[in-house]
Symmetry: D2
Subunit: 332 residues, 4 copies
């Protein structure tokens, strides 16, 4: 018996990011000539055959919801040949013609691995709060995480001002400084610590200490905020705060923002980006493309090979880093 309608499958994988639901919605609504299937818990759903049919009504009111209705998970087993073969078989059994993977570079590596054993079309959509994916100016979730972390840092500025205190705010970003740089500039931080500026293996406490001391010497006691990306200092912000307190003899506090950066209703920019990319992914499938990641670059939809997206990481614009130093070095 012939299958008349083609089937698209969707999954969300890796760290969840606000806007993943908006991408699921957009892909589902624009895939009106297809049957749409959602696999649960990332690649695990492919292994366990854990999936649901996605109809228009299922996605009508999810554009504003954080998290992902398809759930996410990491799936270490998926790097093994055996797992990818099982997944490929299950996709074939389910007569899936194309798979959309929403996630970060790790998820795209999984997708590339799967592509060796499955002949269906595979399209990636970049969804991660870290923004460290090549081939797209922004990843889904980055804008929201940036606002959430900024909102928290503004609050910390209030209490830092009240006590004229030094605070280290640790933000996410895995191994890149997109969040730290953006939040640092936006909150008017006195200092930013991120891998692009401070290689963790050559962490230079003295430079940091000197900046604190010279700033306080110049403008007197006042609040001083360091925005630091996770993994910049091996032992984390709490340990760095202790060390800094000892070195300069002034009470220094740490605040690790943590998982609050992953959740929350996506901001408009993430919802719009996700809506664009979800629709573009379906369009790419309709025109027969595969093994691509669909991103947005310079205001237009852009495609890059999925294996490029999974192997090269984007790095922070040096202009931004220079800007922060330029502005902050002269703020009195």
């Amino acid at each position: 018996m012939t299958k008349l309608v083609k089937k698209i499958a969707l999954l969300t994988s890796g760290g969840d990011a606000p806007g993943m639901n908006a991408a699921i919605r957009s892909a589902t609504l624009t895939a009106h000539d297809y049957e749409v299937i959602g696999y649960k818990h990332g690649f695990n759903g492919l292994l366990d055959q854990d999936c649901i049919v996605l109809n228009d009504a299922d996605v009508r009111h999810i554009i504003h919801q954080g998290g992902t209705i398809l759930k996410s998970a990491r799936c270490p087993a998926f790097s093994e040949v055996q797992s990818s073969k099982i997944a490929a078989e299950n996709l074939s059994k389910n007569q899936i013609d194309a798979l959309i993977v929403i996630g970060g570079d790790g998820s795209f590596r999984g997708a590339c691995h799967l592509a060796q054993y499955w002949s269906g079309q595979i399209i990636g959509i970049p969804g991660t709060i870290d923004n460290d994916v090549d081939g797209t100016d922004h990843t889904i979730g980055f804008y929201t995480a940036m606002e959430t972390a900024l909102d928290a840092t503004d609050k910390i500025r209030d209490t830092a001002d009240a006590f004229e205190r030094i605070f280290i705010v640790e933000v996410m970003g895995r191994h890149s400084g997109f969040l730290a740089t953006s939040i640092g500039i936006a909150c008017g931080a006195e200092q930013i610590i991120c891998p692009e500026l401070h290689a963790p293996e050559h962490f230079d406490l003295q430079t940091i200490t000197q900046h604190v001391e010279s700033t306080r010497a110049r403008r007197g006691k006042s609040s001083y905020i360091i925005v630091m990306s996770e993994n910049s200092y091996p032992d984390g912000a709490v340990a760095l705060a202790h060390l800094l307190s000892e070195q300069i003899g002034i009470d220094c506090r740490a605040c690790v923002l943590g998982h609050i950066q992953r959740g929350g209703s996506p901001v408009a920019s993430d919802r719009i980006l996700a809506t664009k990319l979800g629709a573009a992914a379906v369009e790419a499938i309709a025109s027969g493309k595969s093994k691509l990641m669909i991103g947005e670059s310079q205001g237009a939809i852009a495609c890059i090979p999925l294996d490029q997206a999974s192997t090269h990481q984007k790095t922070v614009d040096t202009t931004l880093l220079k800007l922060q130093q330029h502005v902050f070095d002269h703020q009195g």
Copy 2:
């Protein structure tokens, strides 16, 4: 007696936009080789010699503040020759070397007018929630207004859902649909009304009505949201809601978001954009440029002649408008 330090003056003009303070801060902090003067109440300050010195300490903690510490105003008198001459004389008396005008196209027209009578450097920075300025992808304030309006529209969706009601949400935008389009996509609106889609002079109630009716016929009673930009329908959203209620026999409500869209702490994207543009404006002055507007296009600082920025208005990307129709026509 020779003036040893050059003087830069700043003013904010026209409708206030969140992020104007971040631009004032960035320009002031990076203009460390200059004396910085702030004129109050837009161009009125030039006429009244109403100005203050801006030091680092004055701008240290304003990056997160809505409004503008320099106040803003419209200044209709400024289109007259006499006013521009007085302003030019006052600037000369104050030994101002360069003037940075933060505002929209109307403010840039004022600046161009002034340029006919004053030989100092003039640089414009686009600050308006309407995003309708040529030569920059985004204007300062647009991102924040978009989030504020989206937040309000999400709340209206809640009550619309509870009552399965039709709502018309009127957003700002002057004569362009940037806010309406973005918010419409981001809130999952069932319909968008904006000048680019519905010329006010050919307003077609029937098309709008038919979409409401066919949607409800297809998916049963449910909430239905129309995001409408101001000036799309000559008599406003409240009148349109009355008319629509009569035509389709279903209670339809209007919500005019109004000035809440202007205020509030700027979101990260606006603070970062404003910080970039403030620094770039000072850099442009340092390198001797004049009669330019400094914007950001495709991720890089961009300059266009100020008279172009004041005469051409940017229009909404048609891809976005098509996207909304594509997604919304198939959402069941």
Copy 3:
């Protein structure tokens, strides 16, 4: 055949209020010895037999959601004898033992009417953003509406400051000034207009005008905010702003906050109140009570007869009104 488990029915009626879902959740989870039924669209659900079973899983993650999963509606037909009789019959057919009505005084009048024809237990829970229900210090939804309106008014203050402008902010409240008074005090409004201070039929424009003028005379040009409750001035805030502009010759703007005040995720105070009242309503049913409204007064659960809750309206604490005058008359 004997019914072994007793059945509780729930409905939400009248204007929706944030926290209604939290009350539904609390009642459902604590009614573990009962079967729980939810009627849809307020009293209409009783007439149409439109209901669903509510299990724990249905309410697990709704505590943070605005609106009401049971939908709400006004039901004018319900004041007729015939409707109440049909509703009573339908409740009996469905073997409902007790009905919890979440709503305002209008909803409680409906419940009292129903009580004449149905012998089951009826318990009311006060849910309305207006806070005008007797027998409880706060109604579910008031706290959230207050914060939403305050957030909007803070934003308006930003733009009012930038332009040194006069704004009239119209908030909800039906015929009482709880929202206007609270928001007025919390935003530092220069003037509050509410029914308790200005009887609509003796609306005194001159007093209002004089206060604007004397304030500006005393402290110079500066922003001036009037928080006005709906129905205070017969033609609404927009008309009043026009009139005021004419009288004092200064541009005065209006902002009608409207339905944004109904939506949004409930704040903690509303979620906690709703959780308390939902649990207390089930407890009241378990102990055989009926025709009561369950509220909270002075920190403890309180009950009053449902017909009292439906006939007497609570009024704003005069201390608060005096406080605002005391503070505001001396703010320079």
Copy 4:
């Protein structure tokens, strides 16, 4: 020479709390028959003679600001006799007639100590996010901290749901569970850990573990949130999460909300409470009272002796704790 106008001094002390500025504003504006002086950095300002005059214009637009314009600090030296004597002398030198101390129980102990050496009037206003002060239903700052923490916890629920993960959210509260209990109920937490329920010295990991396991056994994999107050588990939430992960073999994460709970614009309830208490404190001074703390109890202004406020701590209402157990034990 006779002093004609009496002088009131204000200071904010201890952990800063949102709404302290609203209290400063209210006291300053209503003290129109007095000269008002603000001491900086808590009791340190008394020792260093570090103070400013507070005029109406200084406090006009601070009602919405987090932190405290008078700065805060802890002042361990103030428990020594010598310090209190110096402070008393300085107050006399400055001809201060009355002192308003805004802070928590530690600050009130300082004030009581000072009262032994200074004969002026002393009035306390309870300002702390912990809500652990006797004689008032709520302290200034508690409402805002509760909303901030709830907002963060809602975001954590999103990511916990996406991964069906266990999270421990550590909130502030010093040695009391007001924040933990309120947030736990409001976010629908599966478990609350606070001193009132789990004495730190008898911390019972097994009960906690069993609840996690039985809940997951009953309702399958799903997110599970523990709200824990600081100091409940000696080594903190991060250590507890590690321990729990080991015990139950499921990945458990911790999020320590930290100082974001102190900052931010105060919510309406805190602004209103602060406005009431600031005005009432001035009124108490006018009527000759001293050594009192002014709070609000059951909707009315209430006074208790300052030494009682500084020695007895309020404890969490057991009804609330029972409610959470009642609701949560039956949520499936």
